[in-house]
């Protein structure tokens, strides 16, 4: 018969499963108590805008190119689309921001001109210029993963802040503050 071998050296190992289970428990409790937000933040904040040159999306506004963001003043870059429901929800807030004197440029993602015209007629047109991004080229270049998203770009063309989702009333102050911060170069 086997002599019961004294497992002296590995008493700790016997408690290892319980310790691992404890770690699992701590991990999932942490995940349950403070669930991570599911938004994917752009890693481009703090970096210069990618180079692009988009054709106009609307007959009464010019197209949009990187150079527009290098004129010494902060601007907002709003990524939107006529087919995006939350984009309509943020229209009044965008309008208010534009009226307060912050220029906003739009990038229309995968949009048709007639749809865009209808959208702007219905929800207002706060944009200084509108570029048409039919293959999400600029969106991908910015590290944006959905519509709407809004970027604060400083006067040297550096991305300073990203707002994900529609701009609601409560977000306006924050965005204006970020614009103010962007007045000073990094």
């Amino acid at each position: 018969m086997t002599a019961p071998d004294a497992p002296k050296g590995k008493r700790w190992a016997i408690w290892l499963p319980l310790v691992l289970f404890g770690a699992f428990f701590a991990l999932v409790m942490n995940g349950l108590i403070r669930p991570a937000d599911r938004e994917i933040e752009s890693a481009m904040v703090g970096k210069p805008l990618p180079v692009f040159d988009l054709a106009p999306g609307s007959p009464d506004r010019p197209g949009l190119a990187t150079d527009a963001f290098r004129q010494g003043r902060p601007r907002l870059l709003n990524i939107f689309a006529s087919w995006c429901v939350p984009c309509a929800a943020e229209a009044p807030q965008l309008d208010a921001i534009a009226k307060s004197g912050v220029p906003i440029d739009g990038v229309a993602i995968r949009d048709r001109e007639e749809d865009l015209a209808r959208f702007l007629a219905r929800h207002g047109n706060p944009f200084a210029s509108i570029g048409k991004d039919d293959i999400s080229e600029v969106q991908l270049g910015l590290g944006s993963s959905g519509v709407p998203e809004t970027f604060v770009i400083d006067g040297s063309g550096t991305i300073r802040y990203q707002h994900i989702g529609p701009i609601m009333d409560r977000d306006v102050a924050k965005i204006l503050a970020e614009v103010e911060r962007a007045e000073k170069p990094l």
């Binding site: 190992a13 994917i40 999400s136």
Partner: protein, 144 residues
């Protein structure tokens, strides 16, 4: 338990990936290389392999190669165009990580936060050796 719910989840996952949120569907035709293969089969193979390891950001649980979301299509277009222009697949992955962070790639990078993933196989092996060493008799003839 809840297997059906689990399946429902899986099913919705599939459908949402295939269709995208219907309320927010654009009408534009897909980008040129969203559903078109590169002319050179070797390049296409490279692109396909890379696309299978890039995460669709809209559907969140599928690769861009496996998704019909229009953004995934646009990402495929970019990947194929860059491959066509002769870029290295890992450089393209790096380009996307630069924009979206490590989340966009299914291939974890070795960083200060992810090294345990890569140490795990070794740790498991050492642990097994340590725990089992004493189970073996020394020689063939050694009895219990």
């Amino acid at each position: 338990m809840h297997m059906l719910a689990r399946l429902a989840l899986f099913a919705t996952l599939i459908v949402s990936a295939l269709a995208g949120p219907l309320a927010a569907q654009d009408q534009l035709p897909p980008a040129p290389y969203a559903y078109r293969q590169l002319e050179d089969p070797a390049q296409e193979a490279k692109a396909q392999e890379l696309m299978e390891t890039l995460r669709c950001l809209k559907c969140q649980s599928q690769s861009i190669a496996d998704s019909d979301a229009s953004m995934a299509g646009d990402m495929r277009n970019q990947v194929r165009l860059k491959i066509k222009a002769g870029e290295d697949p890992e450089a393209i992955r790096g380009w996307l990580i630069e924009r979206y962070g490590d989340y966009v790639s299914y291939k974890p990078e070795l960083t200060a936060l992810t090294w345990p993933l890569f140490a795990a196989p070794l740790v498991l092996l050492l642990l097994a050796i340590m725990l089992l060493r004493r189970r073996f008799t020394r020689g063939v003839g050694d009895n219990d």
